[in-house]
């Protein structure tokens, strides 16, 4: 039994898929290097990431299958699920044969899995578009910390680039130590860690208070429903909000 191990990057995964094709091998699994538990009965093949090979696979997905298949693959990858690499590999194998109709073959477990992962990731990204909260810093930069389940920073950044083109902002994935920095029409995503208190702008506190008060006030007392609130906005997303949900009990 053969497992392919890649370095955890998207390009690494695509390189692994390239190698499997040209070596005419069918690895049982394709795993990211941080998911590997050694076993005596398995042959591990470490794949060296190669930009060019990765690009060729990516182009082939777009041309031979479809642009939306490329999106499926990327989003499923960003889920960081342990089986994502393997599912993507199998999905693509079927895709080379079937072309764009692979996305209708939902009865195939790997196609379904890739779709399910894509959906989870895009759902979280969609939710995060609303839940990001910027704080205005002394330096005039708007700073927002987040801790999403999936690696969605790159999916949400373009939205804020379009929406807030004239303000400098940073969205910081605290858990993954990654941040998107935006200034004047350009953004970059770089490894980033920041500890310590942030120097806030003088007006910031006032607007935070206005928002908190507004939030408390908007709930209709006879309809308080913490279960529903949590269902839409799971507690794990509350950490970096300005407002404080869940403080009002039913009277």
């Amino acid at each position: 039994m053969v497992y392919y191990i890649y370095d955890g990057s998207f390009e690494g995964l695509l390189t692994a898929i390239y190698e499997a094709y040209y070596r005419r091998e069918t690895p049982e699994k394709i795993l990211s290097s941080d998911n590997v538990q050694n076993s005596l009965f398995i042959k591990y093949v470490h794949i060296n990431t190669d930009q060019e090979k990765a690009q060729r696979v990516y182009d082939a997905i777009v041309q031979k299958i479809s642009p939306s298949a490329a999106k499926n693959v990327l989003y499923a990858f960003l889920s960081e699920a342990q089986d994502a690499g393997t599912a993507i590999y199998r999905y693509l194998k079927l895709g080379w044969k079937m072309g764009k109709s692979v996305d209708s073959a939902l009865a195939e477990p790997h196609v379904f899995r890739v779709h399910a992962l894509r959906k989870k990731v895009s759902q979280e990204a969609g939710k995060m578009l609303g839940l990001v909260r910027f704080r205005l810093l002394k330096s005039g930069v708007y700073y927002a910390p987040i801790e999403p389940d999936f690696n969605i920073l790159g999916i949400i950044a373009p939205h804020f680039k379009k929406r807030m083109p004239n303000q400098d902002w940073i969205i910081h994935d605290v858990k993954r130590k990654l941040a998107a920095f935006y200034s004047q029409g350009q953004y970059a995503i770089v490894p980033f860690e920041f500890k310590g208190a942030l120097p806030l702008d003088d007006e910031e506190f006032d607007y935070q208070t206005l928002w908190k008060e507004y939030f408390q006030n908007i709930a209709i007392k006879s309809r308080i429903n913490p279960r529903l609130q949590r269902q839409f906005m799971p507690v794990r997303y509350w950490k970096y909000l300005i407002e404080t949900p869940g403080t009002q009990a039913k009277s």
Binding site: L74, S104, A105, L106, A107, F112, Q123, A125, G126, G130, R133, L137, K138, S139, G140, A144, G154, I155, I156, A157, H159, K162, R163, M164, P165, Q167, D168, I170, F181, Q186, A188, I189, V190, F194, L198, P199, Y207, T209, L210, E213, Y214, F215, Q216, N217, I218, A219, I220, S222, R223, I224, N225, L228, Q229, Q231, F232, L241, I242, E243, T247, Q248
Partner: protein, 436 residues
Amino acid sequence: MDLHTKLKILGAAAKYDVSCSSSGSSRRNRPGGLGNASLPGICHSWSDDGRCISLLKVLFTNCCAFNCLYCVNRATADVPRATFTPDEVAQLTINFYKRNYIEGLFLSSAVYKNPNYTMELLIATVKKLRKEYQFNGYIHLKAIPGADPLLIAEAGKYVDRMSVNIELPSSQGLQLLAPQKDRDSIIRPMGFIHSKILQAREERKLYKNAPLFVPAGQTTQLIVGATPDNDLKILKLSESLYKRFSLKRVYYSAYVPVTQHPNLPAIASPPLMREHRLYQADWLLRFYGFKADELLDETQPLLDTEIDPKSAWALKNLHLFPVEVNRADYEMLIRVPGIGVRSARRIIAARRYSSIDFETLKRFGVVLKRARHFITCRGKFYGERNINESTLYQLLKPASTQQKGISPASKQLTFSSLYPHVFQPEDVYTVITGEM
């Protein structure tokens, strides 16, 4: 009065307006401007009652010349009063928006002095936001019943959505509870807005740069349970509003008893289940091809509170079932209880490739607990045999509620465009602390 107090009063006063949706408009950001309206609509938070907060929803003022009985702000009510200035509303909107608290502004108002005077203040506010602050985010404006059509036309140039609230489903209801409003002062502006929307759309076909007019359409709200109007009457009204004025949404709001009066029903709590069923039925009208008459009739003018309206319809029409999922057309599939638009589309797509088995249905999101009584799959029936309408009724309740998720409208992206590495990490600390 300071801004905190004003926001407290005027935010609280606006909260009974249920329309939270910010969808249906995609307004692109212009150079130098702030914001855009995003098509699927974005929820930014959920308040403690579980409702989505998408827009900063405030009244411009709660000082009212009218005296609608069901309303907390009626002229004779003893409540604290406040009035914003156009600039205060604009500042709040801009600063909340820049921090990503909100998707835009929902501005409504009590009738201050008279309808025209109020409408002019509202126009001043939205104009300021668009022109002075270059705000391109979403704006929903309430048109004041009885205001001059010219003012409504002016306001429509700046906003994404406009609504005139019908509030009460019948003229008798209005007469009894909102004596200064009449059906005409509500329906006329709706008709007017509708014709302006159509006109603007035609003009934009000819000239690309013709001005927008309420691009996200108009909506309205009905209060449920403040008058004896039954569900059939309400759904028929909604149906005709969708048809005649192409309304985007009708919102239903369970009457919240805020005051007591002999003309008002004495109820302890808002009829939430009824509101929920009306939304489900409304959904069936808009997306499932149902007609109000199919769901209810004069002998049964109320929606069943125990089971959802689609199941109720199916029970009345058992002769149409079961249907074979591998053959039934889309229109029939979506009429099966437990099969929604999404799962029906999946079924149609997947069965082109291979016939579908029962296990697959589950993965497609079909609620088999309900659906199994109404379908066959590869000819096999999975429901209970020898069952009659009333035992089936028992099996179908309690129905679960369905919620719609949002997914971002994203384009094709490659990894390197998502994660460009052009900044140097060293630059980063100066950006964040402002220290060079």
